[in-house]
């Protein structure tokens, strides 16, 4: 083994040590000091944490939305909580209510801007499977809008996207080109 070989081995060993230190130690140095207690909760405990949210469904008389309290999985931040609420909202309605969201509709993504405007991206079924009608389209739209604005103080308005794109309308009646605010009149229902 020559001196040249030894020198090369030393350089490689030093490089490997430096790389290991960079990968392993540097992130720890940049993190805030870890809280000594309590130890990190197990993953299943996080899943088990719930909040009570108000979800919206079509009433039996078909002329209003009703707000129903349901347990929804806790989300670590506004976007995650919005996603959890919407996933619960997209599930079938509990009897005797009906869902205003067409079957097969899935949630793609959720964004929330600094101005409190949420963008909810849903799959194309929300339009292709929609039965139409102005009141029905109001119900579908404000089911999604109210689900976020009624439960998340940080969300003041909601714009619906379909397959990642802005849309003019959902079923040919409502203007979906900008964020919509919460609508309580649909929930209050007509005069009896």
């Amino acid at each position: 083994m020559t001196a040249r070989t030894l020198a090369l081995a030393s350089v490689l060993a030093a490089g490997a040590t430096f790389a290991a230190a960079y990968v392993v130690l540097l992130p720890r140095l940049s993190e805030p000091p870890a809280a000594p207690v309590p130890p990190a909760a197990p993953a299943e405990d996080v899943e088990a944490r719930k909040i009570t949210a108000h979800l919206f469904f079509v009433a039996e008389d078909g002329l209003r939305l009703v707000s129903i309290e349901r347990d929804v999985v806790f989300g670590e931040d506004t976007v995650e909580q919005a996603r959890r609420i919407l996933e619960a909202q997209l599930e079938p309605a509990p009897p005797p209510y009906a869902s205003a969201i067409p079957p097969g509709t899935t949630l793609r993504r959720v964004f929330v801007t600094d101005r409190g405007e949420a963008f909810v991206d849903v799959s194309a079924e929300v339009r292709s499977a929609h039965p139409g009608g102005s009141l029905n389209e109001l119900f579908t739209t404000y089911t999604i809008v109210n689900a976020l604005t009624a439960n998340l103080p940080a969300v003041t308005a909601v714009q619906i996207l379909i397959d990642g794109k802005e849309v003019d309308s959902l079923a040919g009646h409502l203007d979906l080109r900008r964020p919509l605010q919460q609508n309580d009149r649909l929930v209050a229902g007509p005069p009896q």
């Binding site: 002329l63 102005s134 040919g172 900008r178 919509l180 609508n183 209050a188 005069p191």
Partner: protein, 534 residues
């Protein structure tokens, strides 16, 4: 006794009617209140025929016997076992009448009358308004009751209103002013001792005061269905006529009757009397309050809209069918210009529809739709107008503050108002709300209206419309009964009649009339605590 009749409810109507008419007259207490007959009978105007229809006055209310109606319409009448009621059937549809009740059931839907149904001996009397309010819902052709002119018009007929006035001038000339609404083609023919004014109409709805005693004109009368006869007097020598004003809504024809009397010297002639201010004709010329209406049949082409519960009817077809009838009805009744955003089965973008109305400088925009619900039991018509969210409110505030205008090239002093394209409706929302309530009110008298009768929403097709605008959901296609009704001629005719009436009431409102009170389903401002939580 009549009670023997009502026990045979399930026999044929002919047998029941025979028994009914054979029973001894039971003069009810109402007989005492029965007044004299009105000054003239109603005139039933159909294509090619005018038939008197007798009516009677009871306690100041004009009533008509169902039996007299049955003489002119194919009605079947029979007694019912329940509540002493009588069933009046037309084809497979029926009206249930109960004596002493101001409500009748038309195919299961209640319709109110201005006075109760009355049994007078063997006859059943109903207010004359029954004809268009209740029977009009069943009948296959439009029915227009014009009480002031004593006309009952059945079918899509041209029956213009003609009003004649006189202005005697000092130089022995008689000016005869003839207002015709809607504008109708005419021709004047001179014959010995008379002038004949022929109008292109099926019948005339005329107001003819007696002429002044000037010996130029002895009398004026309706000669035939479409002709007015002016019988000239002994001093008549010649005439000249001219068109003073004409819009689609109305026209004013001047007929001057000239005398043979020698002209009075100008020195001795008294100054001519200033012409009286002309009262406005029906849609006041020269600038009518409503001169153009745009009807927007919703959806079309690949965009079918809502589908019927049975799958037979589609929203795009129904909206087009009703739009065509509505166009015809408004044109025939008011003579104003009516345009459609589509007149065939094709896709038209929402902005394109608004642009069409704006370019036509329309005064009203009426979008027709049919509703759908995940609940098949939901039914009834609804009327929408635009809801301004915070963006719209801000736009309206800004528009008021800015008032932005541009000078128009080549026209000094004229400016073009700039209105943000998608917020044009913001400045008309208040009047659109009035229009929506009027439409709901008229619909409510003819078809079933949902408890959400008037609503607001961020409706895309209304946002860019620069005029009062409403969207009418005519009924729920997802309800089987409503699907069948929406496809029927009778229901469509009732819708058309209601919307046509609403156009007139809105015209009156624009002319200074009163707005209706907030409707039962009118959107009220949201208030805390309204959320129904469970």
């Amino acid at each position: 006794m009549y009670s023997t009749v009502v026990t045979c409810a399930h026999r044929t109507c002919i047998a029941a009617l025979a028994l009914w008419t054979l029973t001894p007259p039971v003069l009810a207490a109402v007989s005492a209140g029965q007044d004299a007959a009105p000054s003239s009978p109603l005139t039933l105007v159909t294509a090619g025929a005018r038939t008197p229809l007798p009516t009677t006055m009871v306690a100041g209310r004009e009533m008509i016997a169902i039996e007299d109606l049955a003489a002119h319409f194919p009605l079947a009448i029979r007694g019912e076992t329940v509540a002493d009621s009588v069933r009046v059937s037309y084809r497979d549809r029926a009206i249930l009448l109960t004596p002493d009740q101001p409500l009748v059931s038309v195919d299961g839907r209640l319709v109110s009358l201005p006075a109760p149904v009355i049994r007078a001996g063997r006859r059943l009397l109903v207010p004359v308004e029954f004809i268009d309010r209740a029977f009009g819902l069943l009948y296959e052709e439009p029915i227009d009751l014009r009480k002031p002119s004593r006309l009952l018009i059945v079918g899509a007929l041209r029956v213009p209103r003609v009003t004649v006035r006189y202005e005697p001038l000092a130089d022995d000339t008689l000016r005869v002013l003839v207002d015709i609404a809607p504008a109708t083609g005419h021709a004047i023919v001179q014959e010995p001792k008379r002038l004949l004014m022929h109008l292109e109409a099926d019948a005339l709805d005329v107001t003819l005061p007696p002429p002044p005693p000037q010996n130029l004109l002895e009398s004026v009368r309706v000669l035939d269905a479409d002709t007015i006869e002016l019988v000239t007097g002994s001093r008549f020598a010649s005439y000249r006529s001219s068109m003073l004003a004409s819009t689609p809504a109305s026209s004013r024809v001047l007929v001057e009757l000239l005398s043979t009397a020698p002209a009075v010297s100008s020195a001795a002639a008294p100054s001519p009397r200033p012409a009286a201010a002309d009262p406005p004709p029906f849609f006041s010329a020269p600038r009518p309050l409503i001169s153009t209406v745009v009807i927007d049949p919703g959806h079309g082409g690949s965009e079918s809209g809502a589908r019927g519960a049975s799958g037979a009817a589609t929203e795009k077809d129904l909206t087009l069918a009703v739009a065509r009838q509505l166009k015809h009805a408004i044109e025939a009744r008011y003579g104003i210009r009516v345009l459609q955003t589509r007149d065939d089965d094709r896709h038209v973008g929402l902005d394109e529809r608004a642009a069409y109305a704006n370019n036509a400088k329309a005064d009203l925009f009426i979008s027709l739709h049919a509703n759908a619900s995940p609940r098949p039991g939901v039914r009834g018509a609804e009327v929408f107008y635009l809801e301004l969210d915070r963006y719209g409110d801000e736009a309206r505030r800004r528009a008021r503050l800015d008032g932005t205008t541009l000078p128009a090239f080549g026209s000094a002093g004229r400016e073009i108002e700039l209105v943000p394209w998608d917020l044009a409706q913001a400045q008309h929302v208040d009047r659109s709300a009035v229009l929506a309530r009027m439409v709901e009110e008229q619909l409510g008298s003819r078809v079933e209206v949902s408890r959400r009768g008037v609503q607001q929403g961020p409706l895309r097709v209304l946002q860019g419309v620069n005029m009062p605008a409403v969207l009418i959901e005519m009924g729920y296609l997802t309800n089987r009964e409503q699907e069948a009704a929406l496809a029927s001629g009778a229901y469509q005719a009732a819708l058309v009649q209601a919307i046509t009436d609403a156009v007139e009431t809105f015209r009156d409102y624009l002319g200074g009339g009163k707005a209706p009170a907030t409707g039962r389903g009118a959107a009220a401002p949201a208030a805390p605590g309204w959320i129904a939580r469970r």
